[in-house]
């Protein structure tokens, strides 16, 4: 198994070069965080988590994209991948444009295998603003830890765009080392409001030295905010000797975080993300912090920190819900010794006689009296 993980990181490099051409140059940077299950041919199924940063540049004639991914399997093994692609479109002569492109990548699985590949490609397009046909050819090199092989690619295809939708159909014959195969595939992208759905369906009707059969992948993405989108994907893919990928299937879910959008500005993604985490009961950023430490003879020390106040009180199951004042032990630190047997306790704290609130360190939960109560577990 080497480098085989297509689709798990959801933004495919190839897709970076497809789609509409922007009016002006723009840069987009994203990071995908994903979790899923994958089963490669010849392996047991495994859970995996991934982080996949990517960046993409688009201008009317030049597009470039790069993506990395770091994947950790259930076994603890890791897969590190990096890939890049670039394409240049010539000025159009009537309806015809030429395209020169190239892509390459490198992946390393655990300490077992390193796979690299690169391919240069030329295509001829006959296109209007909304539809087009292309034919093309490419050649390159693929290598693994053991072998180096020349690879070639011949293809033709068609594409069309409609309001909120893009469709492509293509056939590609690829060869690398002793493998040669023909893939016929259709892809579909649909946008409406915050929802995007992409699908790829294909068949490999002929192959020498490799698998034949169908393959397909579907991805659904829902924009939660301008910079955060949730996405789920699943699919089955065949072996790809050109990229050193084995066959497999996967299902994944995760987040796409847009760090840079259209070249405008880098967003304070971290802060935004923290504020947009869908906690059912988010605590205010200035909520006091609760710590529960062990004290002699089975007692506990309940500490409230990060509080600038004259008086801090706690009320909870262990005080019969009578407010008890904590003792100041530092500039912003307050303590109370308590006896707590193992179990679950509810509590609130009050600063300078204000409203009862839940400190950080306790799990906020709706009480039955119109507010929140904090839960702590004592072992």
């Amino acid at each position: 198994m080497s480098g085989g993980r297509r689709g798990f990181c959801t933004a495919a490099i190839g897709a970076a070069l497809a789609g509409t051409t922007p009016i002006s140059a723009q840069v987009t940077a994203t990071t995908d965080l994903g979790f899923g299950a994958v089963r490669y041919q010849g392996f047991l199924g495994s859970a995996a988590v991934s982080v996949s940063p990517g960046i993409r540049f688009d201008s009317p004639t030049l597009s470039a994209a790069a993506q990395g991914s770091y994947l950790v399997y259930e076994s603890g093994n890791t897969l590190i991948q990096g890939a890049g692609a670039a394409a240049w479109l010539t000025p159009s002569v009537r309806l015809v444009r030429g395209e020169l492109s190239g892509f390459g990548g490198l992946s390393r699985y655990a300490s077992e295998a390193v796979v690299g590949y690169g391919l240069a490609r030329a295509r001829l397009h006959a296109m209007t603003r909304t539809r087009g046909l292309w034919v093309g050819a490419g050649f390159g090199q693929a290598y693994t830890s053991a072998v180096t092989a020349r690879s070639t690619e011949l293809g033709l295809g068609a594409w069309a765009t409609f309001p909120g939708m893009a469709v492509t159909l293509g056939a590609t014959r690829s060869s690398a080392a002793d493998s040669a195969y023909l893939d016929v595939a259709a892809s579909f992208r649909w946008f409406r409001g915050p929802v995007e759905i992409s699908a790829l369906l294909g068949v490999r009707p002929h192959s020498s030295g490799n698998d034949e059969g169908g393959f397909g992948e579907i991805l659904a993405r829902l924009a939660l905010t301008r910079s955060v989108a949730a996405q789920v994907a699943f699919g089955e893919f065949l072996a790809d000797p050109l990229r050193g990928a084995v066959a497999g299937r996967y299902v994944s879910a995760g987040l796409r975080i847009t760090l840079l959008d259209g070249g405008s500005s880098v967003r304070a993604a971290d802060e935004r993300l923290r504020s947009e985490v869908r906690l059912p009961f988010a605590l205010p950023p200035d909520a006091p912090e609760l710590l529960l430490g062990k004290a002699p003879i089975g007692a506990r020390t309940l500490t409230i920190r990060r509080v600038s106040a004259e008086r801090v009180e706690v009320a909870g199951d262990f005080t019969d819900w009578e407010p008890v004042a904590l003792r100041r032990t530092g500039r912003a630190s307050w303590e109370l010794p308590v006896m707590l047997a193992p179990g679950v306790y509810r509590l609130n704290v009050r600063i300078d006689g204000g409203p009862w609130q839940v400190p950080r360190g306790a799990t906020p939960q709706q009480d039955e009296f119109g507010g929140l109560v904090g839960l702590i577990v004592v072992r």
Partner: protein, 217 residues
Amino acid sequence: MRLHLLCAGMLFVAVTLAAGPATAQEPRLAGRLSPGARATVDAVLDSARRDGLPLEPLVDRALEGATKGAGDDRIVAAVRRLAADLTAARDAFGPGVADAEIAAGASALRAGARGEDLTRLRTLRPGQSVTVAAAVLTDLVALGVPPDTATAAVLSLAELADDATYLAFRRNVERDVALGATPVAALTYRLFTEGRALQSSDEAATPGAGPNRPRKP
């Protein structure tokens, strides 16, 4: 005179019998609840005592409502609801369960766990307390994990995890969520890392996997 005394005695007995068994009063409620609310809560406590339910959580809930200035109706409703949850948790866990376990189970039920989940949890942890496991389930739901998912996670750890592992698991999920992960993603990731660690230590104790079996990637 003796007749008068006899009549008075019979009258006392009759009045006492007509009034039914006296309701014990929980002293901590005195001065914290209105007389009406206190009488109702005392009645709930009496019933719970007869059913063998833990009383402390019920008293605490009433006192919490009083401290937070809730109205009588709300306090009584909260206590009754908790009594029902405690009953359901006790029934789900079965006999011989500790008060703390019942209380934690009631919280888990309120969070969305089902009775059969609690039954299974106890079955998977014979001879071990389920207090922390049930509390962690409640916490996970409070963190935003859907109840079904939280329940499945807690049950999947039940056979191998001790209380410390459960608490570390919950703490890690909370930390990941605070750092920006979705609750489900955080839980799933931590579940597989904790699960893997537990499984490894378990396998280390019972080695012997065949060399030709397919392995995980």
